[in-house]
Symmetry: C2
Subunit: 405 residues, 2 copies
């Protein structure tokens, strides 16, 4: 009997009616002959409201205690969902992250799963029960409750699926699947039937926030097929799995964007290795994530170094840079009004001219490009924030993504 | 350094201001040179609202899942209180019932504490931290979350105090202590300075609901002194401890009442041992708690058997009795409009004539007495519910309890 892991997000369990809908879908899956493990997030806006409550008490609450507080959100939803499934006559048991064997490191509020000890889950499944596991949370080896950070329930679901060697990990969401672009920007964006792990990783980390990147990484490592689908319909969604590239006909799968960017340029920085190392190791030491990095300039021994950070981390980044500049003569320029638009496709690497086509699309719309970076499966351009929607539309049209993959 | 256990109820942590008040009191106790363990209940009406939420999903939710849900209430309050104490600069850590070593049996929604494993609490105390333990909840040996039933946080606090050999277990509440009678009924009721464990047990189980009876039992067994006091003042409250009866000057300590009574009379039941046994073992098998039992009647081999149950259990009790009656010829009479009024005092057993004085007080007010039962430290009378307040006042006056103990 195959094991299916189903993950339902907060909007899928936001109220009693929705919880009953989820319960019915779970019971239907059992009736189709599967063993079902359900991973569930906190209801609706519970997590936000708990964070708000904490902020009335302390502007800087200890992270361990924040995790203690936040973990109650999923504990409520697993209990309520268990009651709903039980009321349909289906044996069921709910497990907290700790009870479900979700072992993490000790990085409170952004812990990483080290291991899933599936013993209790398997033992409950073997009694004919549906097993509900709290998403987003785990337990450290010092027996403290941890949380995985926003969207962590996806990772819980995939890690559980990997540990149980599940047939598939179904991620239920309020959209029909993964689209070729954000349908709010591109009305003729199409739902993708299949997306490769690497593509999904780029799409996710570039702002197509259907799935947590970490969840896709874990799925890729363990070869867990993910089925992203709607909790409100029975339609097939998007399968995320290893794709045979030889048979791949299209080069670009989708267009992603990320509004949460700020650009920093260090004008006239020395080009020796030491300077670069100093800048980025200092940023890393303060936990600042750096994204696109380009260095340009012909006037060696000095050049212009440009990179992007998230907007929240801009002020930290600027103060780090100020602190390392010392007496050096370069200067810092920054721009918050930028956004990143990317085309993504595993077929891209064997298909020359893809980048050129993207630049053509942008230039036809008079959209300036500040920074370009490329990888084997994507091309990203930093554009003015005021133009990013036009850029997404232009790329989507240019690569004829409305025709499907 | 002496360990003090402080327990705060739901009304003491109902909002941010109140949580900060509790935090300041805890920090003050630390500054006075004590190691402090805090046991805390769910905020205000959280538990009721969780139960209501469950009831929208299922009229009969599995008890294990109800415990999973209810336990989130204390988990929230321990985290919030920890944040508050941390914000005052005092090192602190919160522990769920499971983390705090509160080991219970598996009777979900009314579990009993089997043992407190104080290892983690002691280890955190030794690091100079205040330790906050979630009240009301524990963990069974199958690693399932249990709750102790209403008022269970008192029991948690006393059990933790016993395990840690604490100097005192302070129970903070919204009243100043234990009174000689309910001040809402008897305006000149006085706060008692000292109450014996046995007296408190009678006062608690008779409706003076300041403390959970189970908590008093545990305190008596382990000799833990309990200090019942107000969270809103610095005044001393009531000490509950072993009292040297030889020095005891007063015979009656307080007057208690219980409105939640229903009387059942089996008229003309056979007086042989078999019949009595059958009635009460059948009631026990259905979990019906029987309180006052009297048998009267001269017409052997038949008599009238009267006893009381709680009003909620009346219908269950009547159906149990119906099912065992068979063809026997006795009949059942019941009365829901009754209440129990009791005088309690450890000095009573050495003091004859106390019962007579109580009957005099009631008769002077023309209050009929349906049933009387006595123990070494109390006399209880079942009276019409419409007259129970008059009865409390009459007894309080007769024994001059307004003069204090």
């Amino acid at each position: 009997m195959a094991i299916i892991v189903q993950k339902y997000g907060g909007s899928s369990v936001a109220d009693t009616d929705k919880i009953m809908n989820v319960a019915r879908r779970v019971v239907r899956t059992v009736q189709e002959g599967h063993q079902v493990v359900v991973v569930v997030s906190a209801q609706g806006k519970t997590t936000d409201s708990l964070i708000r409550q904490a902020s009335t008490i302390s502007s800087n609450p200890p992270k361990r205690e924040l995790d203690m507080l936040l973990a109650t959100g999923e504990q409520m939803s697993i209990a309520l969902l268990a009651m709903a499934i039980d009321s349909l006559g289906q044996p069921v048991i709910s497990l907290t992250g700790a009870q479900g064997g979700i072992m993490t490191d000790t990085q409170h509020t952004k812990a990483r799963i080290r291991e899933v000890d599936g013993e209790r889950i398997c033992s409950e499944l073997s009694k004919g029960q549906v097993v509900i596991v709290a998403g987003f949370q785990g337990i450290s080896n010092s027996n403290d409750i941890t949380t995985l950070g926003r969207g962590g329930s996806d990772t819980t679901a995939v890690a559980v699926a990997a540990a149980l060697k599940a047939e598939v990990c179904e991620i239920y969401t309020d959209v029909e699947g993964v689209y070729s672009a954000d349908p709010r920007i591109v009305p003729d964006a199409v739902k993708l039937d299949v997306v490769d792990y690497d593509e999904m990783l780029e799409l996710a980390s570039l702002g197509a926030m259907v799935l947590q990147p970490r969840a896709v990484e874990v799925a890729a490592v363990y070869g867990v097929p993910i089925h992203v689908r709607s909790s409100f319909s029975k339609e097939r969604g998007t399968m995320i799995k290893e794709v045979n590239l030889v048979e791949r006909e299209v080069s670009v799968t989708g267009v992603a964007y990320d509004e949460n960017c700020a650009k920093i340029t260090l004008v006239g920085i020395p080009t020796d290795i030491g300077a670069l190392h100093k800048v980025f190791s200092s940023l890393a030491a303060e936990g600042v994530n750096v994204d696109m990095i380009v260095q340009a300039g012909t006037s060696t021994p000095r050049a212009d170094l440009t990179f992007t950070v998230t907007r929240e981390e801009l002020s930290t980044a600027l103060s780090v840079i100020g602190s390392i500049q010392g007496d050096d003569s370069w200067r810092t320029v920054c721009d918050e009004d930028v956004a990143k638009v990317s085309i993504v496709g595993a077929g891209m690497m064997t298909n020359p001219g893809v980048a050129a086509r993207m630049f053509a699309a942008l230039s036809e719309e008079d959209i300036p490009v500040y920074v370009v970076s490329t990888s084997e499966i994507k091309v990203s351009c930093l554009v003015p924030r005021s133009r990013y929607q036009d850029a997404v539309k232009a790329c989507h049209g240019k690569f004829e993504l409305d025709l499907g993959n």
